[in-house]
């Protein structure tokens, strides 16, 4: 009886050892010579394999980093500058500082702001809806609300809000850009995260003429040029009836927010103004906005 057990154990061990020896020689024989730094770089990368760098996964990025002359055109949005510094130190190369970015949804066409004119009943996919027609509202540029961006996000950082628009979770978003390429309407943009997460941007993509845009959506950019005139830093341009704030030039002074007649310009994460001193600019309250507009008009006079 014991002999059977013993025999079993010994024979299994023998098979194992024999297999290990064969594997060792085979592995030696078919070894692929690879730059060992690729492994090191891959180690330094976050390992999310999100493709935000433009390569198929972190391995691809690591290979590209090792091969590249300089790292200027390569950037890991997930790890940010810190990771790229690590990579650079492994490879003995220089790296450029890049401001951390975040995905920003440039549409504010909630159910209240943008009335629904019909009901989409096809497959739940923005890409399919966008191929079919301009959408449930009169604004053909705005968010379709099927959540292609949500399913594209590998970091669970974007969700559909109750108002029908996607909401980016600014703590978990790593700016990999997956949602940007998933959105058929190009609504999501990667913008500088900003100091203390403060950002000012035009939450609209509507290129229709003012009247049409305003009719479709209460909070559409109507291309009135007020913000362009107001901006002291030349950060704002209007093209195709649509205003755009250059995130690199913008100094977050929020003067444009005050003059915007439709509230299309959003300022986020600024402290709410204390009520005591002169009524300063507030994003959401229309009364404040009107007052601010009056003020600037007086100034112009």
């Amino acid at each position: 009886m014991y002999f059977t057990f013993l025999l079993t154990i010994i024979s299994l061990c023998a098979i194992g050892i024999a297999a290990a020896i064969i594997l060792y020689f085979v592995a030696q024989k078919f070894k692929v010579d690879e730059d060992p730094r690729i492994d090191q770089v891959e180690e330094a990368l976050p390992g999310a394999n999100c493709g935000g760098c433009g390569f198929p996964g972190c391995r691809g990025m690591a290979e590209a980093c090792v091969k590249a002359e300089d790292l200027d055109s390569l950037f890991c949005p997930v790890g940010g500058t810190d990771t790229m510094k690590d990579v650079a130190s492994i490879l003995g190369k220089e790296v450029k500082e890049q401001a951390p970015k975040i995905a920003v949804v440039r549409c504010n066409g909630t159910c209240e702001n943008r009335p629904r004119k019909n009901t989409y009943d096809g497959a739940l996919s923005c890409a399919i809806q966008s191929n079919l027609y301009g959408g449930e509202t009169d604004c053909q540029f705005g968010c379709l609300g099927c959540g292609d961006c949500v399913s594209a996000c590998q970091f669970d950082a974007i969700h559909m809000g109750e108002n029908g628009l996607p909401i980016v979770d600014q703590d978990t978003c790593v700016a990999c850009g997956a949602c940007v390429s998933a959105c058929p309407k190009d609504i999501i943009e990667l913008r500088n995260k900003g100091p203390k997460d403060r950002r000012v941007y035009v939450a609209c993509k509507n290129e229709d003429k003012g009247g049409i845009a305003k009719k479709a959506c209460n909070t559409a950019c109507i291309g009135c040029m007020k913000c362009v005139k107001e901006c002291p830093f030349d950060a704002i341009t209007v093209k195709n009836n649509l205003s755009y704030i250059d995130p690199d030039k913008c100094k977050l002074c929020r003067k444009c927010v005050a003059v915007c007649p439709t509230g299309a310009i959003q300022a986020v994460n600024f402290p709410t103004p204390t009520p005591k001193p002169k009524p300063k600019v507030s994003v959401k309250k229309d009364i404040d906005k009107e007052k601010a507009i009056n003020k600037t008009e007086k100034k112009e006079e």
Partner: protein, 341 residues
């Protein structure tokens, strides 16, 4: 205008649904079910009820409390699994064993893969094979139909009387050195008419060939299944056993015997044709059917189990993804050679 719907074409639908197809299969199984009640009495009714109810219950409980998904019991697929499971066990099987079989069929065979549409193996067969391996004694003691008993034995003894299936009798006989014809001439060996009508020992659903054929015709007329899989299985078994029978009639039974016994028809009609676990293209279905036929005969004749339908189907289930990959439907506008990749 808010109520105007916009969607891509097509704008109409045939009205076909999973429910309709599943209930169609259930209806197709009713004749065999009724005959099983006739032959095996109240035990058969209890076995069927236990299997169906416990399948539904397990599906509901697992969906609700483990997976936290919407209940899917109304689509009828759990009922099919339950009936098929009952069809595959002897009527004398203790009810608690059937409940275990239902748990394995629904829990492991179906929901662990993600529910209807995603399972690799036929759930009822997974349950059946599990029981066959775990409770071999109970699973292979076959009650003899009451109608058959009454001719020879005192009806009072019904509950305790069990016998072998024709296939098992044959296997035993051959192993003890008898020839096929001498076994078949024995007094207690059923005639072909008995086999057709189900007057033989066996599991609930497999005995009545004629009821299964009625179900097949119903499903073909309602276009629930296509003819490919059952035909391929039956023809393969007939051809294979026919060749063996011609070579050596003393050791191998004739094709008709093989077709009418051991759940071959039950498997070919109701279990191999399961949507989820069978190949999709017609060519693939034929390959799958031929595979099941060959494996069944091989297991029956050279294996240690007297019948091999369940194992053959499960093995071919595993090959289904591969068959789907290599046997594509005939493409329009492509010369015959280019059809395969």
């Amino acid at each position: 205008m808010n109520k105007i719907f916009v969607s891509p074409s097509p704008h109409i639908h045939s009205g076909d649904s999973i429910k309709k197809n599943m209930w169609g299969v259930v209806i197709a199984m009713v004749p065999a079910m009724i005959l099983s009640f006739v032959y095996f009495g109240i035990n058969a009714l209890f076995a069927t009820l236990t299997a169906v109810l416990s399948c539904i219950l397990f599906e509901y409980l697992i969906k609700k409390f483990l997976l936290k998904e919407e209940s899917s019991i109304t689509d009828g697929s759990a009922i099919i699994t339950g009936i098929l499971l009952a069809f595959n066990v002897p009527s004398s099987l203790p009810l608690w064993i059937i409940v275990i079989g239902a748990l394995v069929a629904i829990g492991i065979g179906k929901l662990s893969y993600g529910g209807l549409g995603n399972n690799v193996f036929n759930p009822a067969l997974v349950g059946r094979v599990f029981l066959l391996i775990s409770f071999p004694a109970q699973m292979t003691s076959w009650p003899i139909p009451t109608t058959r008993l009454s001719e020879k034995i005192n009806p009072d003894m019904i509950d305790s009387f069990t016998g072998a299936t024709p296939l098992a009798m044959l296997q035993e006989g051959i192993q003890s050195g008898q020839s096929v014809s001498s076994i078949m001439e024995q007094n207690n060996f059923p005639t072909y008419q008995d086999m057709l009508l189900g007057n033989i020992g066996g599991s609930l659903g497999e005995v009545a060939a004629i009821a299964i054929i009625a179900g097949l015709i119903f499903m073909l007329v309602r276009k629930i299944i296509t003819w490919h899989i059952p035909t391929a299985i039956i023809l393969t078994v007939a051809a294979f056993t026919g060749i063996l029978n011609l070579c050596s009639p003393d050791t191998y039974a004739d094709p008709l015997f093989h077709l009418l016994t051991g759940g071959l028809l039950l498997g070919a009609v109701f279990m191999a044709t399961d949507y989820v676990t069978s190949p999709m293209s017609k060519k693939g279905m034929l390959v799958y059917g031929v595979g099941i036929g060959l494996l069944t005969v091989i297991i029956r004749i050279w294996g240690s189990y007297p019948e091999g339908m369940s194992f053959a189907i499960l093995i071919m289930n595993a090959f289904t993804p591969l068959i789907n990959k290599y046997f594509k439907p005939k493409r329009f506008g492509i010369a015959k050679k280019g059809g395969k990749k």
